[in-house]
Symmetry: C2
Subunit: 352 residues, 2 copies
């Protein structure tokens, strides 16, 4: 008999809690494949004097980050990061990307041999040399294990309420693809698997740049055709970027939920779009708009836009991504928003 898979979820914010609900439901459902008890690492904090892990383990609710949603009883909150991964064969990473390095160093010596990981973390890390490091690469380089990625048009609160959506898992191993399907798929959370990990992962970051462009269109009160054109050209630049810098990225991946579907939701309803619209309409600074519209939370799109610009400058590839470049220049107030549609000319004008 083969050993059962033991799952550890690392991270318990809004998305971490929503996906933990699905995972623990499935580990209970498929007891022949998975150990039913599923650990989730929770960064301990006090809620009205009571420990969050205690509340989660008695009330079965993450009252802080996913209030109102009941979590399965076989999901066990664990405040000790090292204990949470003890004996685990599957590590699910779902925490803000700025915490990934520290987390990896902490668990490095304590993971089980032969375990695998899957990242649900959007965004990448850019170093002082303007090099991009994908989270999947950081995990696999640090822990020496195989890493998959899960991305899609998934707003945590909608997933938690079982509203229908899809997601994409990029996993290079055929057998693990089947296992991940069992771990994540439900009737309302439809999983597709592809073997292209990088393609899946990169979509989740770059879409936020395109969302700024979509927001500029809205701010200019342009029609649906213009905005759809910007979204489409953005999708092509995402694809080109992924295929230029990463091996094995497939065109078909961009037809998956992580590609076209996530781009649509982000450009129609997301907060990057919303703030970019206000940026055009009010002329205020990004900092002011973050304070006003996002309670001071930082916008992912402007950060990614800036990072990708530095990376492309270093690689000497600016002019191959004229829309990304033009969105960057507009965000920097170096170019009028209306020129978003003029990206070819703008690029010729501004490239050194």
């Amino acid at each position: 008999m083969t050993e059962k898979e033991k799952v550890a979820i690392i991270g318990s914010g809004n998305w971490g809690s929503a996906i933990a609900r699905i995972i623990a439901t499935n580990t209970a459902k498929h007891e022949n494949i998975f150990e039913k008890e599923t650990k989730i690492w929770v960064f301990e904090e006090l809620i009205d004097g009571q420990k969050l892990t205690e509340i989660m383990n008695t009330k079965h609710e993450n009252v802080k980050y996913l209030p109102g949603i009941t979590l399965p009883e076989n999901l066990i909150a664990e405040p000790d990061l090292i204990k949470s991964v003890d004996g685990a064969t599957i590590l699910v990473f779902v925490l803000p990307h700025q915490f990934i390095s520290r987390t990896l160093s902490t668990i490095k010596e304590h993971i089980k041999k032969g375990c695998r990981a899957i990242t649900l973390i959007k965004g990448f890390v850019v170093d002082d040399q303007d090099e991009i490091h994908l989270i999947s690469d950081m995990i696999s380089e640090s822990l020496g294990i195989q890493v998959s990625a899960l991305m899609g048009a998934n707003v945590a609160n909608e997933v938690a309420q079982d509203m229908f959506c899809e997601t994409t898992i990029g996993c290079a191993d055929q057998k693990d693809q089947e296992m991940y399907l069992k771990l994540f798929n439900t009737k309302t959370f439809r999983v597709s698997t592809v073997s292209d990990v990088y393609g899946v992962e990169i979509c989740g970051s770059l879409k936020n740049i395109v969302a700024l462009g979509a927001g500029f269109c809205d701010g200019l009160s342009f029609g649906g055709n213009s905005k759809a054109a910007i979204m489409r050209i953005g999708l092509l630049e995402m694809k080109k970027f992924a295929q230029m810098f990463y091996k094995g990225v497939e065109s078909e991946t961009f037809f998956e939920s992580c590609g076209v579907a996530d781009l649509i939701t982000t450009c129609v309803g997301g907060r990057n779009r919303k703030v970019a619209e206000a940026f055009v309409k009010t002329g205020k600074s990004w900092n002011d708009l973050e304070a006003e519209l996002l309670n001071g939370q930082k916008l992912q799109g402007t950060l990614t836009c800036d990072e990708v610009h530095r990376f492309l400058t270093k690689k000497g590839k600016i002019e191959e991504f004229p829309l990304f470049f033009t969105i960057y220049l507009i965000a920097q107030k170096k170019v009028e928003p209306l020129r978003v549609f003029d990206f070819d000319e703008v690029t010729t004008e501004f490239k050194k």
Copy 2:
């Protein structure tokens, strides 16, 4: 010296007039390639006692179908269909698809040898045997000439106002691709060319089925993720349909404006979407809703949905298109709208 291309535009409705403005601007601009004078066939009618062709040739405006937009002076309105195609080397078909057969019989014996055609007509013709006939095939079979197709996220009034958008031309001949680029491309109407004619043409029809599904999501007040999922699954069924029944259809075509961009505009803002939303919210019949919301104009989506269903039934391929089938069943009031997300189960249940 090679002979100059002579362009005839067949059709002068809202879209015909908008594209005629672009064409005539370009024939004047590229006088080395095209004869400047460009004929447009106008179905003659009286406007306040004056002939529409006369108004167009003196006032340079199509006061009935594209009011407020000035047309180039080298665009000549011609009420006689046969005269309008006399000597033409490029025929641009842009009229409602129900008039295509009659138009082809009329001009059949009068076209110049070696001329080519391009169709801007959305939709196809389904015969009594439930066979689908694409407009491009009907033209090429009737006239014995090579036919290209132009489709994209192009609302006529936005195009006429030079709002930025994109379009796709499917043309099998490399040299003609370059010629069509010169004929159609402008700074704000960006043309891409592909060699896949069928792929381009089919997108323009099938998107309206998906728009009904998107409208059902809106009617049910589901979130952006659910709607994006339906749009994505719809795009995949469009692609599958085109590749199953037509030779040479390329996956990449669906990344063009005719594919993903047109689908986005249609599912976010189009009238098929709008009426489908009302269908769910009010429970009224399609006929009543057409009368109320479209001044009695017929909805393309429900017609195409029905025709594609008959075609797929005949081919025995219903269950390979579960979303199309489920949208059909909902439109027929055989299934509750909420089950749009249950398309696999619905299909298993209802297929014979």
